[in-house]
């Protein structure tokens, strides 16, 4: 049996074809079992004979392309436009300016995603009358055609073979081998997917993983998603694993364990999926996050009910260890001696272990148990002070890594890249974003702890940013920020434009937004007027150069010379809008800026961005939002790594921030979308069996699929866990819905159980689906682009606010340190986040350790005393009124 048995590949034909190429297709596709059909315009003849370009070799064709209707087209696996002059001849029309039959067929093929389009060399000429089908798509072609394909709107890519969804292009006929191989692999994968349910001999999902066009690995990570450059397929899918358990369960009793015996409850027998036979006979390790439904201490059996409603019987072995979940800085807390008391029904536990194919009705040997608290219903991460202790440990880790333990804080020593243990590499770049993110983290750590060492790092970091990374443009009256500086050999080399592949040679909105994250958070603490001026200058940059006055919103990139979003040098980023350029303002700096200034202009901009989100991003065709757009807001589903894919964490981030916005300018459609996303995401983006949230998935299901396919891997990234925890905490607080509260709790349990690096400090970037840290390549680093104390600190700060003030309705103290010239009206705003009016009141205030009476308990503002020095303000907030 061949991979392509029954497949049909149509190859367009005319005179001046390239003989070796055509011969190769004939032989090669046949080897795989596919039939090659040569088709042409027969002009009413029974057959036509064409001659090759070099050897004048004859080829007779009797298959009329005009006879191929839309229904017939769907029978084809692929349509190939070969090289040579075939395409030019097939462009001929009797009426000048009309569309030839071959072009019409090609257009129909482009409208039929099931047909793989393969175009080689000069074949792309056939696309020129219908350039819209390749607009914005990545292609390669003969060097002579590069300008032509750019004029068609395609993105020329200097590779021998380029895959863009259902379009495969090759440089010249000399690359017909690589081209044919790619076509074969893709056709095989597509056929396998179409016939899902009948397990193919070759595991279908592994093939495309091998084939993915290699992306250049950026020197340092961006977001997790962008970092997903180590694209080894490590997945074993959940269906397969379930099948193993089921298979073993149905063999219950064979090994002498009576399946009816306690503690298995009636009806607890798991329902499982059928599995490919080849996968049934292996042992594999896995994680189960479940609620204890039964425990038989004498026989060492444990029944766990998982979040997706299955029951798994685990065996406790003599080498099973147990521990309590612990915070950064806490010692290991052994629980192995207390299993009898701990394994009481209703208790939730993480069990890591091994599934055996011959394990009878208890197929799972639990090897490591992690309990969420000593008492049932206790979740240690909901204790007062949990997140405060965590941010303190994070702050110490980054302080030590960058500047040493107690030494002076000198940002000349700062480096973006930190190894797992916090030590530096020979990479000498200081990225603006990463300094800004650390400033955010340190400012937040100061607000929660009052530790002035953190504040010093934040202030020096901000001063360094202003001195080294800032570009004041007096002509345009705007401020923008360099990507970073390279400080190798003591010479400062400005890096003006982004050095990342996604944004290369452009000024991305994303980086400018995150350049404000740290200074804005520091401004909330100190009110520094110089920092405020830079923020205002950057906001003018956004309004003047990134904003689209016609269609609304903000473009994602501008060119570095003319600052235009429409400059041709931007390539695939030209005239584009994306999730980040619209949606990242609010969480990165804009809500914080509004909190710190109370300026309604910022609320206006927040409203503008949230209105755009609810208007353009939801999409009936997918449970996930649309993240990328052309200038006119039509979806862009061809862009680089995004294609038609979703970042799970972006969806959660939208939900979280829409709920925050409900406290600033509430609208029903904000709440509706936030809750809709909150209800949908667990079914499509969460791992209900092991806990945690996935990274990036296909937005839609292919026929026969029930699980949204993982784009790169099934790893879980720290920042996406953060988005989930905050989204579900705030959803729970404002709706009172216990389901949301459970999600928040489960998300926080997984994060605290598996992301904290107890050995080296800090948090891990990615863990495998089963919670094991993934420490390979850039995902091993601690100080990379997005890691450097931004999201992890934001989580500590806001989880404290939401857990204490909103969920537990307990008080909270925050620290501020206004400068003598800080805050123009000498009013300090101490609201820790956007909160509904009346829900929290300011109970008491201390200034430099003494009670201070000039404050407004409802408005959460403090009238600052005049002072020649900075003052330390402690604001004590407590709940009042009822949420929801």
């Amino acid at each position: 049996m061949n991979r392509l048995d029954g497949a049909i590949v149509a190859v367009l034909m005319e005179s001046d074809f390239v003989e070796p190429e055509v011969h190769y297709y004939q032989r090669r596709f046949a080897e795989e079992g596919a039939r090659t059909r040569f088709v042409t315009r027969l002009w009413g003849q029974q057959a036509l004979t064409f001659h090759g370009h070099e050897f004048r070799e004859p080829l007779t064709v009797d298959d009329d392309l005009e006879a191929i209707g839309p229904g017939d087209l769907r029978e084809l696996d692929a349509l190939i436009v070969p090289s040579g002059m075939v395409s030019d001849r097939l462009r001929y029309t009797e009426d000048a300016g009309g569309i030839s039959p071959a072009v019409r067929l090609l257009r129909e093929a482009f409208a039929t995603p099931g047909v793989l389009k393969g175009i080689v060399c000069h074949g792309l000429w056939l696309v020129s009358p219908i350039g819209e089908v390749v607009r914005g798509r990545r292609v390669t072609c003969h060097n002579n055609l590069v300008a032509d394909v750019r004029n068609m709107g395609a993105v020329y890519t200097d590779q021998d073979v380029v895959v863009d969804g259902d379009l495969v292009t090759a440089r010249t006929a000399d690359h017909c081998h690589a081209f044919a191989r790619m076509m074969i692999e893709l056709m095989a994968a597509r056929r396998a997917r179409r016939s899902a349910g009948v397990p193919p001999r070759v595991a279908p999902r592994h093939a495309p993983a091998r084939l993915r066009a290699p992306h250049p690995a950026p020197a340092t990570p961006r977001t997790v998603t962008r970092d997903a450059v180590t694209r080894d397929a490590v997945t074993r899918d959940a269906v397969t694993r379930d099948a193993v358990t089921r298979d073993a369960a149905s063999a219950g009793g064979v090994r002498g364990e009576p399946s009816r015996a306690e503690p298995v409850r009636a009806g607890a027998r798991p329902e499982r999926e059928p599995a490919p036979p080849a996968e049934r006979d292996v042992a594999f390790s896995d994680l189960v996050f479940g609620t204890v439904t039964g425990h038989d201490g004498a026989r060492g059996l444990l029944d766990l009910r998982t979040g997706d409603g299955r029951t798994i019987r685990a065996r406790l072995t003599p080498t099973t260890s147990a521990e309590f979940l612990r915070n950064l800085g806490d010692p290991y807390l052994d629980a192995s001696g207390h299993l009898r008391e701990l394994l009481s029904p209703g208790r939730r536990v993480f069990a890591h272990g091994v599934f055996y194919p011959d394990g009878g009705d208890a197929p799972f040997d639990a090897k490591r148990l992690v309990f969420l608290g000593r008492r049932p219903e206790e979740h240690v991460f909901e204790q007062p002070g949990w997140w405060v202790r965590q941010i303190r440990e994070l702050g110490r880790f980054y302080r030590r890594a960058q500047f040493g333990d107690g030494g002076p804080v000198d940002f000349a020593d700062y480096r973006t890249v930190l190894r797992l243990g916090g030590d530096k590499t020979d990479h000498h770049v200081q990225e603006t974003d990463t300094i800004s993110r650390m400033v955010y983290g340190m400012s937040s750590a100061y607000m929660l702890t009052g530790d002035e060492d953190f504040l010093e790092v934040a202030e020096r970091g901000t001063a360094y940013l202003r001195e080294h990374m800032r570009f004041v443009d007096p002509d345009e009256d705007v401020v923008y920020w360099y990507h970073g500086v390279d400080v190798r050999d003591g010479v400062e080399r400005k890096l003006f434009t982004s050095e990342f592949g996604d944004d290369y040679d452009a000024i991305p909105m994303y980086e400018q937004i995150y350049a404000l994250a740290g200074p804005t958070q520091l401004f909330r603490v100190t009110g520094d007027p110089d920092v405020a001026r830079d923020i205002e200058g950057t906001l003018r940059l956004f309004r003047k150069f990134f904003r689209d006055p016609d269609k609304g919103g903000y473009f994602s990139h501008i060119d570095p010379i003319l600052l235009s979003p429409h400059h041709e040098s931007l390539g695939p980023n030209r005239s584009r809008k994306n999730w980040n350029s619209i949606g990242d303002h609010a969480p990165a700096y804009l809500i914080n800026l509004f909190l710190g200034t109370g300026d309604e202009r910022h609320a206006d901009m927040l409203e503008e961005t949230f209105d755009l989100i609810v208007r353009h991003m939801p999409d009936d065709a997918s449970p996930f939002v649309q993240e990328r757009f052309h200038g006119d807001w039509s979806p862009d589903r061809t862009w680089d790594w995004q294609q038609d894919r979703a970042v799970v964490g972006h969806n959660l981030k939208i939900s979280w921030n829409l709920m925050r916005m409900m406290s600033i300018r509430p609208k029903d459609r904000y709440r509706t979308l936030a809750q809709q996303i909150g209800r949908r995401m667990p079914g499509v983006g969460a791992d209900l069996r092991r806990g945690g949230w996935y990274d990036m998935v296909e937005r839609t299901l292919a026929p026969g699929e029930r699980v949204h396919r993982f784009v790169w891997h099934d790893r879980k990234a720290w920042w996406q866990q953060e988005q989930a925890i905050l989204a579900y905490q705030i959803l729970a607080a404002f709706t009172g819905d216990e389901e949301f509260r459970d999600r928040a709790r489960e998300s926080a349990a997984f994060y605290n159980a598996f992301f904290l690096d107890h050995d080296e400090g800090g948090v891990y970037f990615n863990v495998l689906a089963d919670g094991t840290p993934y420490l390979v390549g850039t995902e091993r680093l601690k100080g990379s682009h997005s890691m450097s104390m931004c999201h992890a600190a934001e989580l500590c700060f806001l989880a404290t606010v939401y857990q204490r003030l909103l969920l537990d309705r307990e008080p909270l103290s925050l620290w501020f340190r206004p400068r003598p010239d800080g805050f123009p009206d000498r009013v300090l705003r101490v609201a820790p986040d956007a909160l509904p009016p009346g829900l929290v009141r300011l109970d008491w205030v201390e200034v430099d350790g003494r009670p201070h009476s000039a404050y407004d308990p409802e408005a959460l503002t403090v009238k600052l005393p005049d002072s020649a020095r900075p003052v330390t303000v402690r604001a004590h907030l407590s709940p009042s009124g009822t949420p929801g």
Binding site: V472, P474, V491, E492, R493, I561
Partner: protein
């Protein structure tokens, strides 16, 4: 004064002579010359700017971008910078990365 720019590349050094106002409209002209110098991967980019009466931020952006694109260790030298132009450069933070000279000290004397 109308803007004019000429360039000569010689022995790893590109010398650009600029006259007039380097504003947003004329910056693309300079950028094109600089792109050619970058393509030649020169180790030194000398700009003769005695006759530049005004340099906009767009002009400076061309230089900063050039600095990023030139080989590591490449030097950008501005010769004859007027005080108001020097101030513009200082505001961009680019004064740390560029050499400002009164007159040509080495390299080709004239273009």
């Amino acid at each position: 004064m109308t803007f004019d720019a000429t360039m000569r590349i010689d022995d790893g050094t590109a010398v650009v002579r600029l006259t007039g106002e380097l504003d947003g409209r004329s910056a693309p002209t300079l950028n094109q010359l600089i792109a050619d110098a970058v393509a030649a991967q020169v180790g030194r980019l000398v700009l003769l700017v005695h006759d530049v009466t005004y340099m906009s931020s767009a002009g400076i952006r061309c230089l900063v971008f050039a600095h990023q694109k030139l080989p590591r260790g490449a030097e950008i030298v501005l010769v004859g910078t007027r005080p108001e132009v020097a101030e513009t450069i200082r505001l961009t933070g680019f004064d740390r990365s560029v050499v400002l000279q009164e007159s040509v000290t080495k390299g080709p004397a004239e273009v």
